[in-house]
């Protein structure tokens, strides 16, 4: 049970991180549509870094169950 709570906290962190990245990316794209391509790359990159942490949490939770 505790592992599931731990994983929930982990997802919360990752969700906040990705939402901040998405917020920044969308506002910047709206202000300056010409940098869309570059921003998308950076956004995917940042999301991948954040998501990796969340997935590590997932695997650890599965393994400790």
């Amino acid at each position: 049970m505790t592992t599931i709570f731990g994983y929930g906290i982990c997802v919360l962190g990752a969700a906040l991180g990705i939402s901040i990245a998405a917020y920044g990316a969308t506002t910047s794209m709206a202000r300056q549509p010409e940098v869309k391509g570059n921003l998308f790359t950076v956004f995917i990159l940042a999301s991948a870094f954040i998501e990796a942490l969340c997935l590590i949490g997932f695997v650890v939770a599965i393994m400790s169950m």
Binding site: G37, A52, L55, I56, F58, V59
Partner: protein
């Protein structure tokens, strides 16, 4: 309905066991595991696709037909978005390696999307090998550009006091080796997690429909109707996984490109 949920939790361990890279020949240290077999199949498919593409493009620069256009679009994507966008002037030099990494990971991911097949990139052994190749490549690029000693020195910041520069150097070396681990673990976790979630929904689907098949009552019919919902969820997760497979191949090649760029750049 409670029984169905209990059945799912009972068979969860079995599902997890099925992800273990069981050896077909030899043992898990030296030998062929299930994932290696699928990886070899994926590589064979990749070589077939690329040789077919070459045959279609013989004597012409314009791709004709659906197949040639799809492969050409992928190639253009790697060349323009990935290499030229990130690396700048030196992109032609690194295109062969980055293209190879992208297509190896892409085919390894997608072969797992065929029902009952496993992804070629679904074990840490294989993703670790691909990550190690890109690790050696970007270190090699750095060493070739600045020399072995020059590359080691370039990890420390310039114009900083000696003790702090040493500290930053230690952290940089640590993070350089950490890149190897994160590249491998990210890809493995994505494939593992995606297939596990799909497996759980497939299990729920069968566990909810089972009582209806054994004994047809109104209550069991209600439970069986739930499995339609799980089936729908399974299809949605499957569609998401199709995107994730592509994004992970893209991220893997993109990160390799960024690391190559960092190793090549003069400042830092």
């Amino acid at each position: 309905m409670d029984e169905a949920f209990k059945q799912v939790t009972d068979s969860l361990g079995e599902l997890l066991d099925s992800f273990y890279p069981a050896a077909i020949v030899g043992n898990t240290v030296v030998g062929l595991t299930v994932y290696i077999v699928y990886f070899i199949l994926a590589m064979y498919a990749m070589l077939r696709v690329i040789s077919l593409y070459e045959k279609k493009m013989e004597g012409t620069l314009v791709p004709h037909g659906v197949f040639a256009n799809i492969v050409d679009a992928c190639m253009q994507f790697v060349a323009n978005d990935l290499c030229r966008g990130v690396l700048g002037e030196t992109w032609t030099k690194h295109l062969p390696f980055l293209g190879t990494v992208f297509f190896v990971v892409l085919f390894g991911n997608y072969i797992g999307m065929l029902p009952t097949w496993k992804p070629g990139t679904g074990s840490t052994g294989i993703t670790g090998a691909v990550a190690f190749a890109s690790f050696v490549y970007f270190i090699g690029v750095g060493v070739k550009k600045k020399g072995a000693w020059g590359y080691i020195k370039s990890l420390a910041p310039k114009d900083v006091m000696a003790p702090i520069a040493l500290l930053v150097w230690v952290i940089e070396v640590f993070s350089t080796f950490l890149r190897l681990i994160t590249l491998a673990v990210r890809l493995f976790c994505n494939m593992f997690a995606g297939h596990l979630v799909m497996g759980v929904f497939a299990l729920m689907c069968s566990a909810f429909v089972n009582p209806m098949l054994q004994q047809f009552t109104l209550a069991n019919l209600g439970t069986g109707a739930m499995s339609v919902l799980w089936m729908l969820m399974l299809l949605i997760i499957y569609a998401v996984e199709l995107i994730v497979c592509f994004v992970q191949a893209y991220v893997f090649a993109l990160l390799t490109a960024v690391y190559v760029k960092l190793a090549e750049s003069d400042e830092e």
